[in-house]
Amino acid sequence: MDNLLEAKLTAQPSKKRQYLLLVAVILAVFAWSLTAIKFRAPDDGGAKIAANIIRGILSPDLNLLWNFTSQGVFYLLFETICIAFLGTIFGAILSIPFAFLMAPSVVSRPVYILTRFLVVVIRTVPALVYGLMFVRVAGPGPFAGVLTMSLTSIGMVSKLYVDVIEDLDRGILEAMDAIGCTTWEKIRFGIVPQLIANFSSITIYRFDMNLRDATILGLVGAGGIGAPLIFAMNAYRWHQVGSILIGLVALILIVEIISNKLRAKLVNG
């Protein structure tokens, strides 16, 4: 009996080697990465700037914050919401054909591999580059921002849509076949209801992200709150930076809470 236990004990598969190898690889890459970073403690200038930033954020420019004209924080935030909102809607609509063309259960292998590659390309090109391209089309301003967001949303949204399409409950289609439904009826009453809740949830999630990313648009003059924020930073006007950041952070937090509630409702019915 004891021999049996002994034998079982020695039969224990050892993963020590795998773990050691993994740790060694991570440490090696870590050491290699350190070569790129010139560590330096912030000098006096840096510390002073840090202090200024904190002071600025703690004592925001209230005139700018409670200014309701088109230069005030509220209008800029509103414009940013509009850019993110439209960008998300257009992006979500554009993502639908992409998603179906990326789904192995819908199209053949060469088609979905090609589409997936295309989406990786779309996803990887930095938003800035699109921003510059669309500024040529629409001129500087929020319109260019909307176009940019529409394109940058496609990458993630279509990828998440594909998962939903692949997770469709096919049992219902069989049941509808048994009832005698046509293909169109199957799509309308069997597939669309399944997709719509999850698609909406993903879209709302992306809206959340677009709102966060909208700051980048300001770098290339594509509207929203990003440009005034970055101008204020580059001009060291920290009180203005403070008021804009407070507005932005509050907005994103509120939108996140609402969007989480909405998504929970959508998915759980």
Partner: protein, 266 residues
């Protein structure tokens, strides 16, 4: 059509719940109309000027291969920045996630505080953090690494505490019934269950950071973004095309590696 009362043959009356779809559709149409106004969206401009989009795109093709030798250094900088920021960020995210998880920390206030902290951190746009970091730490990769680090802490931290809170606490209870302390119960009951997802989240965030790191150079935070903004400024689109090609290939390669690793983890 608007009659929602149905009388069955047995005399029972069923009242249908009013559908919210018309209301939602109306709301969406109004919101879209407002947003179109505010953003000065114009389909005419899009149709008339749309070809302008392709001007730069055509300029990028074919990419200028001669530019390749100048790309390697910033590319490696970008990879190193993202790796370092993601690794350190993911490590710091663990204690923060624990402190933010309702089922590990008994005090509602402590958990709430750390949740709020992670939310605020996540809300700060990475590009703004990077810009501030360049003011404090000077131009270069250090600033970019800090920006990526901060974002990773918040992202991995949030997903990890959500994961911990979603865990079935039965195992935790079982381990406590065996006489383990809460810390031991976490080490043996929670860690093995969240570890694969945590690693997978970290890898995912590394992929995303790599993409993002390419932008950070725009504000002087090191890496590919610096030469990207430089070449865009000079309107040398063939060089831009080369940078983007290298970026796409690298990102695809690392994504493929990380996806393989993540599949193994599941």
């Amino acid at each position: 059509m608007f009659n929602r009362k149905f009388q069955l043959a047995s005399g029972k009356v069923v009242v249908a719940r009013p559908s919210k779809i018309p209301l939602i559709s109306l709301l969406m149409i109004v919101l879209i109309a407002i947003a179109l106004q505010v953003t000065k969206f114009s389909f005419t401009t899009l149709l008339l000027n749309g070809h302008q989009f392709f001007v730069i795109l055509r300029g990028m093709l074919p990419p200028n291969l001669k530019f390749l030798p100048r790309i390697w250094q910033p590319l490696f900088d970008t990879i190193k920045m993202s790796f370092l920021g993601s690794l350190l960020g993911a490590l710091l995210a663990v204690p923060l996630a624990l402190l933010a998880a309702n089922n590990i920390v008994r005090s509602k206030w402590i958990a709430g505080f750390f949740k709020f902290f992670l939310s605020i951190l996540r809300t700060l746009p990475t590009i703004v953090v990077a810009l501030i970091a360049t003011f404090i730490f000077g131009l270069g990769t250090m600033a970019g690494t800090i920006a990526i680090f901060m974002f990773t802490v918040s992202y991995v931290g949030k997903l990890t505490y959500e994961q911990i809170e979603a865990l079935d606490m039965g195992t935790f209870e079982a381990l406590e019934s065996l006489g383990l302390t809460r810390l031991q119960a976490f080490r043996y009951g929670v860690m093995p269950q969240i570890l694969p997802t945590y690693l997978s989240t970290t890898l995912f965030s590394f992929e995303g950071n790599l993409r993002y790191a390419a932008i950070l150079g725009y504000v002087g935070a090191g890496g590919l973004g610096i030469i990207l903004s430089e070449q865009l400024g000079w309107r040398d689109y063939a060089n831009v095309g080369m940078i983007l090609t290298v970026l796409i290939v690298t990102v695809s390669l690392i994504e493929w590696l990380s996806q393989t690793a993540r599949r193994k983890l599941q």
